[in-house]
């Protein structure tokens, strides 16, 4: 069994992730931030530790500016729906996931102007193109950091500079990069960072968050939901302080305990080491696939401009058919089709057919990559013999 669908959900996780979750359920189990007894306090401490470790990883000063959500989709919805007001403009790219595009298309119906900057077929975004579209009413720039289809990386640092220069807020969708590519909220001048726990951060599904930089005014970001927070209980109105304003309802403490272990694993191994190894795997995969006649690989040639996500097609074959063969005959799990981002496939010229996507993780072995290349080779050869 070879699992190459880590851009959807990473598997396997570091051993301690599951162990800590089991330990939490058996020995702690209580609600964080609700009651004052020792188990509730212990749950609260573990949730706080998770915030602290994430703060370390993304270089932010105050762990309480991390708002936990179910996943990156909820974090992006909170940012987009909470910030944008009718008459304002938002700039984005033609490489976005539907988790950005769908909320934006809905907001567009409510009087928000949406400007989509076209990227090259390799997924390249020119910051100059953003600069040209910034207007008086531009409120926000939102960009996908790493493409979930072709693994291209956006020039977030340059765009962050632009956003500061023009007094615009900058939201980064780090679904594919948080945990496997260096991200520094200060250096990259990110105002809002949306992340998910279940991909490269090695947490379980149901964890994620939105980090609010110093330039985001809590007053001006409207919550997606309101309800119990364990604080201000004498009032019927929502609290206006962080993180409670945006964290109504019981938190997924067991999930966050798992995420904490995932983040600790990354901090211990070191992001540079993880990145270096993933690039080695990616290079091997691309080199192997390139040698096979009839294969078209999408995205950047330069490996350093990629994360460990590789999309390809085989001439005159359907991605769905290849995906099924890889799974049934070779035990290789990948994802085929449009990957929840029609706009990316239109940009790279693969709409509506889609691509075959291999997405790797720190836990893949070089032998697995070699077996995968062999598997693809055999599938093409079989066809020729018929």
């Amino acid at each position: 069994m070879i699992y190459l669908d880590n851009a959807a959900t990473s598997y396997p996780k570091p051993k301690k992730v599951g162990l800590a979750m089991l330990d939490f359920l058996e020995k702690i189990g209580a609600s964080p931030g609700r009651s004052a007894h020792r188990l509730s306090q212990e749950a609260g401490r573990l949730v706080y530790q998770t915030r602290e470790n994430l703060a370390k990883l993304f270089n932010i000063d105050d762990p309480l500016r991390i708002v936990f959500t179910m996943n990156v989709t909820e974090a992006l919805n909170l940012a987009l729906q909470g910030l944008l007001v009718s008459g304002e403009q938002v700039i984005t790219s033609s490489m976005e996931h539907n988790s950005v595009m769908r909320p934006l298309r809905e907001l567009e119906r409510n009087g928000i102007e949406v400007e989509v900057i076209p990227c090259s077929p390799q997924g390249k975004l020119d910051p100059e193109d953003i600069k040209k579209r910034i207007r008086k009413n531009t409120k926000l720039i939102v960009l996908n950091h790493g493409s979930n289809v072709i693994g291209s990386i956006s020039p977030i640092s340059e765009v962050g500079d632009l956003a500061r220069e023009y007094g615009v807020l900058f939201l980064v969708d780090a679904a594919q990069t948080a945990g496997c590519y260096p991200l520094d909220m200060k250096r990259d001048k990110i105002d809002l960072l949306a992340f998910t726990g279940h991909k490269a951060l090695f947490g379980p599904p149901g964890t994620g968050g939105l980090i609010l930089g110093e330039r985001v005014e809590v007053k001006k970001l409207i919550p997606l939901k309101r309800g119990g927070t364990g604080s201000w209980s004498e009032f019927e109105e929502q609290p206006d302080f962080l993180p409670d304003k945006y964290e109504s309802g019981t938190l997924n403490a067991v999930g966050l305990v798992g995420l904490n272990e995932g983040v600790k694993f990354i901090l211990q191994e070191g992001l540079e080491k993880i990145r270096k190894y993933e690039l080695q795997l990616t290079q091997r995969l691309i080199d192997g696939l390139k040698e096979i006649p009839g294969i078209i690989i999408y995205g950047e040639d330069q490996i350093k401009n990629r994360i460990a996500v590789v999309s390809f097609n085989i001439r005159n074959r359907l991605p769905s058919e290849i995906g099924l063969k890889l799974d049934e005959e070779y035990g290789i799990m990948c994802r085929v089709g449009l990957h929840c981002t029609p706009v990316t496939h239109k940009t790279i010229g693969t709409f509506p057919g889609g691509t075959i996507r291999f997405s790797l993780s720190y836990f893949n072995k070089i032998e697995e990559i070699e077996q995968t290349v062999e598997g693809v080779k055999k599938i093409i050869e079989e066809e020729k013999q018929i």
């Binding site: 004052a36 309480l64 364990g230 209980s233 609290p239 302080f241």
Partner: protein
């Protein structure tokens, strides 16, 4: 912290801030304890941080230095 008459509490807006303060206080080797907010101080269901009066200045400095938002400090 047996003698509660020698102690005070810090009231916070959020329990996350209370836990943050606890973690910094422990790192500074200050003896603190999270307890339910006494009824006479607030009707809230939250927690507050109990500390020895002799550490009051250190606690205040820590809250200020770590930019931890708090409501007030009361002797109990």
């Amino acid at each position: 912290m047996e003698k509660r008459e020698d102690c005070s509490v810090v009231l916070f807006y959020s329990t996350s801030a209370a836990i943050k303060a606890e973690s910094f206080a422990q790192r500074s080797n200050l003896e603190v304890k999270l307890i339910p907010v006494p009824r006479n101080l607030s009707s809230d269901c939250g927690i507050c941080l109990l500390f020895r009066n002799q550490d009051k200045i250190k606690i205040e400095n820590l809250l200020h230095h770590e930019k931890i938002e708090y409501d007030s400090i009361y002797p109990i």
